[in-house]
């Protein structure tokens, strides 16, 4: 099987997983969620194989353009779902997270995104590309879990469900925050120092990842030290994920800077 067949297969499995998840939700069959998760896991396996094949054939990490980094983010979000899907006792996490995964994959495969594995410009030829991008996107995938559960929290009425959603959002931030700090800020600084000779240039992308970091630092301090919970925490987590999204997409299109690759 070729790499693009595997990508398509993964995408199809994700769509199927989404359909099964939502069918279960509307038909009020909780057990169908297991089927949704199983399909997502199969899709994850197919995409993992595709990512490996792409790495082998192009000889570099599979996240050098928007298509590659979007589909890696989708992959990382499925991984986060596998981590939290069963233990969180939040049946709605699966369907809504898969909705984002499918949307990201659809965006990645839209004709707007260049797909070919292109040769790397000199600045990107570094193993720090691996470390910086993969760990950052992994952290952001957990922020996406916090985002989904916070939105569900804001929409939920049932008190018991709310407690679980609130706890899940916090756990996801607690896993994602160290990863995002390490990948996005620390590895980014190390790489910038190697490539440009300066670890921090106040470039818009750098500053926006710092802003994202501030928002989640705020989430943790208000929660751990000041005892914020529930609605206020959920708002901060939603803002944090939106800041992460803006760092990822918005900065490239709206603000000019050094970081013009993806």
């Amino acid at each position: 099987m070729t790499e693009s067949t595997l990508f398509t297969l993964a995408f199809a499995l994700y769509v199927l997983s989404l359909v099964v998840y939502f069918a279960g939700l509307f038909a009020r069959r909780d057990r169908w969620a297991g089927g949704g998760l199983a399909l997502a896991v199969l899709g994850f396996a197919a995409q993992t194989a595709a990512l490996i094949m792409r790495t082998v054939s192009s000889g570099h990490a599979p996240f050098t353009n928007m298509f590659e980094s979007l589909s890696f983010l989708a992959w990382a979000m499925v991984l986060a779902l596998i981590v939290f899907g069963r233990t969180s006792r939040v049946p709605r996490l699966g369907p809504y997270l898969m909705l984002i995964v499918v949307a990201l994959d659809a965006l990645a495969s839209s004709p707007l995104m260049p797909k070919g594995a292109t040769p790397l410009v000199p600045a990107l030829q570094s193993y720090w590309l691996w470390l910086h991008v993969s760990v950052t996107l992994l952290g952001e995938a957990f922020f996406a879990v916090a985002f989904v559960s916070s939105l569900l929290y804001l929409a939920a009425g049932d008190e018991e469900k709310k407690v679980r959603l609130d706890a899940l959002a916090y756990r996801a931030v607690a896993v994602g925050f160290p990863l995002f700090t390490l990948g996005g800020l620390v590895f980014g600084m190390v790489w910038a120092y190697r490539a440009w000779g300066s670890y921090w240039s106040w470039d818009p992308k750098e500053v926006w990842s710092l802003i994202t970091w501030f928002v989640f630092a705020l989430y943790l301090h208000t929660r751990i030290v000041m005892g914020w919970k529930g609605k206020r925490s959920a708002f901060v987590a939603v803002i944090g994920f939106l800041a992460a999204l803006f760092t990822y997409f918005g900065v490239n299109y709206l603000l000019a800077g050094l970081h013009s690759y993806a």
């Binding site: 040769p119 000199p122 160290p178 700090t181 620390v186 600084m189 000779g197 500053v207 208000t222």
Partner: protein, 459 residues
């Protein structure tokens, strides 16, 4: 003084500062930083640009008020870390003290039951069960009573302190860089030597190469360099993008490259049209006039000028669009004695144009007399290398390591604590136990239940 201390130790201050830092950072990305006054006026109009300048929004991250905000952040972090440290230290490391079963049972997880054993046997059984789960124990004995304190992953309590210390170290590193870092761009062509600013040694470029992918596109820029100290070569190596070379605290980075066409060597082929046998090749520089033999009607040839990237600009003037050799062209003149018999631009990439279509200058009298082709051109690519000395960088890496370590300690290494009070009563032992974990409480509850189930019903 006390009020200042109280103000600085408050978490509310930390939260306000985080919000202020985030908001000012957003402003700093919406207004492009460090541009010229003209650019701001063109962009925002005079009055708004004036306001931005007065508030230092155009150099926001170096402005006095932003630095004041950071200083307050430093003071706040120091005071918070100091005031919270002692209680945490006691919690993690103090010895087990007198235990009151009531306070133990008020912990988040708790249980109590009676064991048909004597005190020593009961204590042994409890300690074995806890040790098996890798708890570190401390105990105190008071006659017919024993208090056991069990803790694990104690460093997790200090995760946030390590993060905060790391942040302070990073800010110290940034401050050091801001004051002491020096960076200079050096432009070097092959064989050229230049003094490294702020250092006693010199840098020589031995060779500069651009590597291309087979399908086109630049693969790498590579400068082979030597470091010279007092004329002697003390270090040789290559500088590539992502692969700097460091010598005595100065790092050399491949920043870019450029072309210089002064004195470029040009190779021209000259012949009579339709007469391959008359073809002659000459090598010359722009401004030179050289003799030619064997081409009918021509005795000398000269090049008035050369451009690497030919384009007709405003007012029909010939210009070079860039320094890249995208469309190299030479204005060639041919002479018979002192009579100019040919004048025209010839293009390396479009040889068919070299048949005497003059652009600028007087028209050739007999354009079809000769044909000229620009066969080759050799400019010099020069390498742009940045020499940087940044004593703050090492400090930054220490800070980054601390922040990362602290975060993983705080979130991936959550401490757990169990306290057990054993009291002899009527020949048996009353056990009261309590425990708590800062994270993953479900998993802790499961562990707690298992430990005490195994004590209650030993196999």
């Amino acid at each position: 003084m006390k009020r200042v201390w109280k103000f600085l130790s408050s978490v509310k201050l930390a939260i306000v500062l985080i919000i202020l830092l985030a908001v000012s950072s957003i402003v700093g990305t919406l207004i492009p930083q460090g541009r010229s006054a003209v650019e701001y006026t063109a962009r925002y109009g005079g009055s708004l640009a004036g306001i931005f300048d007065a508030l230092r929004l155009t150099r926001l991250f170096r402005s006095p008020w932003f630095l004041a905000l950071l200083s307050l952040f430093v003071a706040n972090t120091v005071v918070c870390t100091v005031t919270r440290f002692a209680p945490k230290w006691r919690r993690a490391f103090r010895q087990a003290t007198e235990g009151d079963p009531k306070s133990v049972l008020s912990m988040r997880s708790s249980c109590r039951f009676r064991l048909p054993l004597d005190l020593d046997a009961a204590r042994g059984s409890v300690e074995r069960a806890l040790r098996r789960r890798r708890y570190v124990l401390s105990r105190s004995l008071h006659g017919d009573k024993a208090v056991i304190q069990a803790r694990k992953r104690r460093l997790g309590w200090f995760g946030s302190d390590v993060v905060h210390i790391g942040l302070l170290v990073i800010l110290a590193g940034g401050f050091t860089s801001g004051l002491a870092s020096r960076r200079t761009q050096l432009s070097l062509s092959n064989g050229q030597t230049t003094a490294v600013p702020g250092a006693s040694f010199e840098l020589r470029l031995d060779k500069f190469e651009t590597e291309y992918y087979p399908q086109g596109g630049v693969k790498d820029w590579k400068s082979t360099v030597s470091v010279l100290d007092g004329g002697a070569r003390v270090r040789a190596g290559t500088v590539e993008v992502n692969e700097p070379l460091t010598y005595h605290g100065v790092s050399f980075y491949q920043q870019g490259y450029g072309w210089t066409w002064d004195g470029a060597r040009l190779v021209l082929e000259i012949r009579a049209p339709g007469d391959a046998a008359s073809s002659r090749t000459v090598t010359l520089k722009a401004g030179e006039r050289v003799p030619v033999e064997g081409v009918p009607g021509v005795t000398q040839v000269s090049v008035r000028s050369f451009v690497p990237d030919f384009v007709i600009g405003q007012g029909n003037q010939v210009q070079s669009r860039s320094d890249e050799p995208n469309n190299p062209a030479a204005l060639v003149e041919a002479w018979k004695g002192e009579e100019r018999v040919y004048s025209g631009w010839v293009f390396a990439k479009f040889p068919e144009f070299g048949q005497g279509h003059g652009t600028g200058g007087p028209s050739p009298r007999d354009a079809n007399k000769i044909a000229v082709v620009l066969k080759d051109y050799t400019g010099a690519a020069y390498s742009v290398i940045e020499a940087a000395k940044d004593p703050g960088a090492t400090v930054i890496w220490i800070g980054c390591a601390l922040v990362t370590l602290g975060l993983f300690l705080a979130f991936y290494w959550p401490p757990r604590e169990i306290r057990v009070v054993l009291e002899t009563a009527q020949g048996r032992v009353d056990l009261a136990a309590g425990g708590q974990a800062s994270k993953s409480r479900d998993a802790f509850q499961a562990e707690f239940d298992e430990i005490f189930a195994s004590i209650r019903r030993p196999e």
